[in-house]
Amino acid sequence: MTQLIAGQLLNGAIVGTLYGIVALGVTLTFGITGIVNFALGVFMMFGAYAAWYFSDTLGLPYPLAVLAAVAVTAAAGLVADQALFRFTRNNLVNGLLVSLGLIAVLEACALLVFTSTPKELHRVLPGIVMVAGLVLPKMKLVVFALLLVVIFATYAALTRTWTGRAAYAYAQNPEAAALMGVATSRLQTGVVVYSCGLAGLGGALYASLYSLEPTLGSLFILKAIEAAILAGIGSVTGALLGGVILGVTEGVGSIYLPLAFRDAYGLVFLVVILLFKPAGLFAGRR
């Protein structure tokens, strides 16, 4: 039994980083543009299908396909920002509505183009390793490592570069930041594009592990939002930790308790945490 638990701790952490990368996008978008971008789920789906297309249809090597997918998703994010999100700054409800509309449109497009038949990427890195009594596919570890690198790189960029600190300043006090010369609308657009890029990366890496269907984004965005809230909106490392905690809770919970309630464990945990720490576990922290 302990081996099962240990294994699920590890697996949960890995699955959690996938939640975490999208959660990071959610938290950045909320901090800088004041809306919760539900559509990050479909951007993840966009990135996944893009990676699949570049890799399996166009024949690009997988790493290149991932980069191309991220670029294309970020570009799509730019278009969405200029056409839609730009008009919903700091308006939570409008942002929600616009996201819902975008989700309906993009999922319908994906269904038209790709149909609901599941697509699978070719096996990028077959083979397994044994870690802590858990049999893990090598690719999962690679994805884990890559996502961690990107998340920490984001953290570093936010705390050490001028743009990053400008973003923080803006999140704390928009007027003061503007007075100090922070190009507000550029910053906001930049964050939206970056978040979409992150979601695209998550999707492209997701494609190496799981099958693709047009609705894959809707489950993930919910988990990502739970993770972002758990950690406290505005916290980068928090987004990662929130995702990991969520992934682990689900995995370990499924061992002891009926699997069918898996989604509930994360939710219960979330509610309990929010009752004692209404701003999230790591609020205030970077």
């Binding site: 077959p126 799981y210 995995g251």
Partner: protein
């Protein structure tokens, strides 16, 4: 004077030709989920029915008695929503005056329309594949119902035959991993007693639909050291379950009662045995059966594509291509397109040989031949055709 005669003759000629062109049309309604997360079941039904109707119409329609009729498909997308389906069915029966309806495949949709449909018993026929229809067949006031998919249990059921085959492979313990939804629950109810009777130990886990990472349930089930994994039941989940089960080496032998061969083939080098029930193994049948070959060619031509949906095609075994032809044949045999009771009687007496050999048992449930596919390590597939007649 001449001009008016010419005018009158001209008008008469026009009238005659118009009358000759006036077509009698039989409308075929369809209510399925063609979009949304549950689109798998509705889509193929739509594709197949549309093709069949086009073929029949292009040949000039069909004759019943002295009249020639053409078919018209009135297809509605329920999106898996019972409220939509109810409104759509009312539109079909009342506005479009449809007497023959294909669908639904989804249980929740059927539950939503059943009260209204039952109120209109005797005015139309409903040919659907939903699990919930099975329980309603034969009940009073449900004569309008026909179920176009076969059933795992019962005298003509294929579940028993599948488990018998499994037993011959030496299975002593099986792990069942199914979705926690309508069919998942029914599958557990059907297969638990069958496995028990066969003396095979069955360990059951249900997962939430939408799951992608099966690490936890697979680890949990593998701890019990079963011989076979019995995963359910749509390709969407099978691709992930089979992949994750095989790449971790936790399972090497699989037993399925739904889904395509795709998941097995993708992981063929890591699988020892992959036993699946399939309404038809199209990849093989295309080579061996002339009707199937024609169908595939016709599909590609009509839909202007080089991609035949091999994984979806087995779902054409329910309220699809064959059933349009069966319906037409039944109308011709009964000598009427309006008397639905007679048409149903004719349908139930048919032994149809199309893509499938289909007949309906006395309750109105379809029985058709199917394939048991056994994929061995490396991808070599042996197919056994079973005729439950």
């Amino acid at each position: 004077m001449n001009r008016s005669i010419v005018a009158v003759l001209g008008a008469a000629a026009l009238g005659v030709s118009l009358a000759a062109q006036a077509q009698d049309v039989v409308k075929l309604g369809q209510i399925e989920a063609q979009t949304g997360t549950l689109a798998t079941y509705g889509w193929m039904g739509y594709q197949g029915a549309k093709l069949a109707i086009d073929e029949i119409n292009r040949k000039g329609g069909f004759k019943v008695g002295a009249k020639t009729y053409k078919l018209e498909l009135v297809s509605q997308d329920t999106r898996g929503n019972p409220q939509e389906a109810l409104i759509q069915l009312k539109g079909l029966l009342e506005q479009q005056k449809v007497k023959y309806v294909f669908g639904p495949f989804l249980t929740n949709v059927f539950n939503g329309i059943e009260p209204y449909a039952t109120q209109n018993n005797g005015k139309f026929l409903m040919m659907g594949g939903a699990t919930a229809i099975h329980a309603m067949l034969g009940k009073p006031n449900h004569e309008y119902l026909i179920r176009t998919w076969n059933w795992d249990a019962g005298e003509s059921g294929f579940g028993q035959l599948m488990v018998d085959y499994l037993k011959k492979q030496g299975a002593k313990k099986t792990a069942m991993l199914f979705q926690n939804d309508a069919f998942g629950k029914v599958a557990v109810d059907i297969y638990s007693p069958i496995f028990q009777k066969a003396g095979i130990d069955l360990q059951i886990e249900l997962f939430e639909p939408g799951t992608k990472d099966y690490s936890a349930p697979l680890a949990k089930l593998a701890a019990g050291k079963p011989d076979f994994l019995f995963p359910g039941y749509t390709d969407a989940v099978l691709y992930d379950i089979v992949r994750q089960a095989t790449e971790t080496g936790l399972f090497k032998r699989f037993f399925l009662v739904r889904g395509s061969m795709g998941p097995g083939l993708k992981n063929k080098d890591l699988i020892d045995d992959y036993i699946a029930y399939l309404p038809k193994y199209f990849e093989d049948a295309e080579k061996k059966e002339p009707k199937v070959k024609e169908f595939v060619a016709a599909y590609k031509q009509y839909y202007k594509t080089n991609d035949f949906p091999y994984d979806q095609a087995p779902l054409c075994s329910s309220s699809c291509y064959d059933h349009v032809y069966m319906l037409v044949q039944a109308m011709q045999k009964a000598g009427t397109v309006d008397d639905v009771a007679k048409v149903k009687q004719a349908l139930l007496s048919e032994n149809y040989r199309g893509l499938w050999n289909i007949r309906f048992d006395h309750t109105g449930e379809a029985v058709f031949d199917f394939d048991v596919l056994h994929m061995h390590k490396g991808g070599n597939i042996t197919a056994t055709r079973v005729n439950p007649h």
